[in-house]
Amino acid sequence: MELTILHLYPDVMSLYGEHANVAVLRRHLEALGVTVTVRKLMADDAPDFSGAGFIYMGAGTERTQKFVLERLAGQGPALRAAAEAGAVVLFTGSAMEALGASVTDAAGTVHPALGLADFATVETDRRAPGDVIAHTDLTDSPVVGFMNKCSLTHGVSAPLFSRLSLGFGSDAELGPEGWHDGNIFATHITGPLLVKNPDLLDALIRLLAKNQGWDLPEQLPVLPHERDAYAVTLRELQSRVK
């Protein structure tokens, strides 16, 4: 069992410790006996998704995100093809916006995005930071996290999270959030999403196994502290729900 994780632009798209997502996924896969290679695609490298079984990109600033949109111009079909060939794609934080049709900045300039989905993002001049409890059919337990965005994303046809019980969705308080299409997962939740949510991590590992043809044990590895950390965060966030 082998897997290559492709981490897109960690030099400019890692505002919130996102390398932790790659590290925790790697450790869990290695606990299952998978040989993992991590390939980092840096800002000066030509985009190349070949050979990747998992493709990840984290959050950037408004400016680095536009820079990355330029670097990725015309790569939408290649990314779509990689996902259709079985690569699991996860974009978190402002990277999510890159998957849609466009991002309009606060000055009104429209920046074309990868175009894998029809949704469009409009930036505002206000940041809306906040904790999140999000619900999805992919996991029995809710997903916890944090968002720090200054944008609204309209027109998501298939949200990753059907509703939030805490936090701001794609374009409404407590509204649907993120985007999910087959092997592609996107959410504006920032930072160590997979570290904070062991059930979501397991769901992605099961999907990876299905796509790669691996046989997995009934019980996936449980690494120390992860479940306890999740329980504390969920308890704390739930205490904020009015």
Partner: protein, 451 residues
């Protein structure tokens, strides 16, 4: 009409102060809030002294302001400054109210302001600093402030063409404030390469990889810490300006900083932060016409009174609290460097209980931005992880090279302290934030005269 409102605001604001004193609401920004409500242009009408010095940036504001105040006072200037860090617009108005006559004239020679980077544009809409120090910009409380480019954009409108900017030449983002300005209105401070500099970047992330002007790749000839160092963009030529005020030599082992090749300054605290605070204070005071010997006498062996380092006893342990702001990985990394630089065996405690004292959040991504591997050193014998987020801390340490045998998990801060009190006598270094500081300090024996 404007003036009339101003005098009314002045009177109301001033009268509210003794009332607040009686009702024990002293120390709030209420007088300023009241005055601004009556007269929104209040700040514009106060008759300011000739020199107005402002300091903003991610880290070092309070310390730099304190040092500038000490130098100016030593030089015989009467300084009005916001000691308590009430650095938002209402706080500034409150400060002015407390220090002006009934005709609105400030008593002092210099107004010195620590200014919250998010509010400068509101404060400096009404009056302009003559000198504006910007210390550095990096990831600091992203929950509240947003990222460093967001902060850059927030500060930018607060800068007027008449103001002399005093900028950290070693921070590429800060240095870019000079773009498009009259070069005569920009002065630079910076640190030259020295034995503490490194050729490679250190840390979990590097925000100095791309040019803030053209997004080309920045190359560094040396790093001082994080993305602070000597940089150049191969694509557009943007590079570190030559400092007007330079730390020309630094011996952190001996604790001596040389300024402009002439003056040796002995360091009471040997952190890289302290170096930059001194350089910033030196620059702006020099521009304000203070003689070098007065500056040197004041900053030599200067001990900050900011409560960021607190000594205490816990059983047979001699403890040192190193305030390390949560959600600020550079602050943690700097203290980790300090602990790593020691040679005697010691124990370390990290407490993350409440992420912030001002707001609630369960946001812990910043733990992954801290380079805890710096504790992977033989003289650190044991590491206590404490507080509500002990599991998040434990997971973070699982991804370092630190020997798991050295790690003790104890959610309860009081249980950890009780255990330490009962056993061992190694020096103890505690890293935590203002939000969790008192949870520790209420359990230990504070040293007399310490601060």
């Amino acid at each position: 009409m404007g003036k009339l409102r101003f005098y009314l605001a002045l009177l109301a604001g001033k009268l509210s102060r003794p009332v607040l004193k009686i009702t024990k609401h002293k120390g709030t920004s209420f007088p300023g809030e009241l005055a601004l409500r009556i007269c929104p242009a209040f700040l514009q009408y106060v008759h300011m002294p000739e020199q107005i010095i402002a300091v903003t940036g991610s880290n070092g504001k309070t310390s730099t302001v304190e040092m500038i105040a000490a130098i100016l006072t030593a030089a015989g200037r009467q300084v009005i400054y916001n000691k308590e860090g009430s650095n938002q617009t209402e706080g500034v108005a409150t400060l002015l109210l407390a220090n002006c006559t009934l005709t609105g004239r400030l008593h002092g020679d210099v107004l010195l302001l620590e200014s919250d980077e998010r509010y400068t544009k509101y404060t400096f809409k009404w009056f302009r600093p003559t000198h504006y120090v910007i210390t550095n910009l990096y990831r600091d409380q992203l929950t509240r402030n947003g990222h460093q480019e967001w902060v850059y954009d927030a500060i930018r409108p607060s800068i007027s063409p008449e103001t002399t900017l005093v900028l950290n030449a070693d921070d590429p983002l800060v240095a870019s404030f000079a773009q498009g300005r009259d070069p005569a209105k920009v002065k630079w401070f910076g640190l030259e390469e020295n034995p503490s500099s490194t050729k490679e970047h250190r840390g979990m992330y590097d925000d100095g990889q791309r040019c803030p002007i053209c997004r080309g790749k920045l190359t560094y000839s040396c790093y001082h810490y994080a993305h602070i160092g000597h940089y150049k963009c191969a694509a557009c030529g943007y590079s570190r300006p030559t400092p007007d005020f330079a730390g020309t030599a630094l011996d952190l082992q001996k604790g001596v900083l040389t300024v402009n090749g002439r003056t040796d300054i002995h360091l009471a605290f040997r952190s890289i932060y302290n170096i930059y605070n001194i350089l910033a204070a030196w620059s702006v005071c020099s521009l304000a016409g203070i003689p070098a010997d007065v500056m040197a006498d004041t900053v030599d062996n200067y001990i900050l009174k900011n409560g960021r380092t607190i000594r205490f006893g816990l059983g047979a342990h001699r403890g040192t609290l190193l305030i390390s702001k949560h959600e600020n990985s550079v602050a943690y990394d700097t203290n980790l460097d300090y602990i790593r630089s020691l040679t005697e065996p010691c124990e370390v405690m990290v407490i993350v209980d409440a992420v912030s004292r001002r707001y609630f959040t369960g946001e812990t991504s910043w733990l992954w931005d801290i380079d805890f591997d710096r504790l992977d050193t033989p003289h650190v014998r044991r590491i206590w992880l404490c507080g509500k987020y002990v599991n998040d801390l434990a997971m973070r340490f699982d991804y370092t090279g630190v020997d798991p045998e050295k790690i003790v998990l104890q959610e309860s801060i009081s249980a950890a302290c009780a255990q330490l009190k009962a056993e061992g006598d190694l020096p103890l270094y505690v890293m935590t934030c203002f939000s969790d500081r008192d949870k520790l300090l209420s359990l230990v024996q504070l040293e007399q005269g310490g601060n």
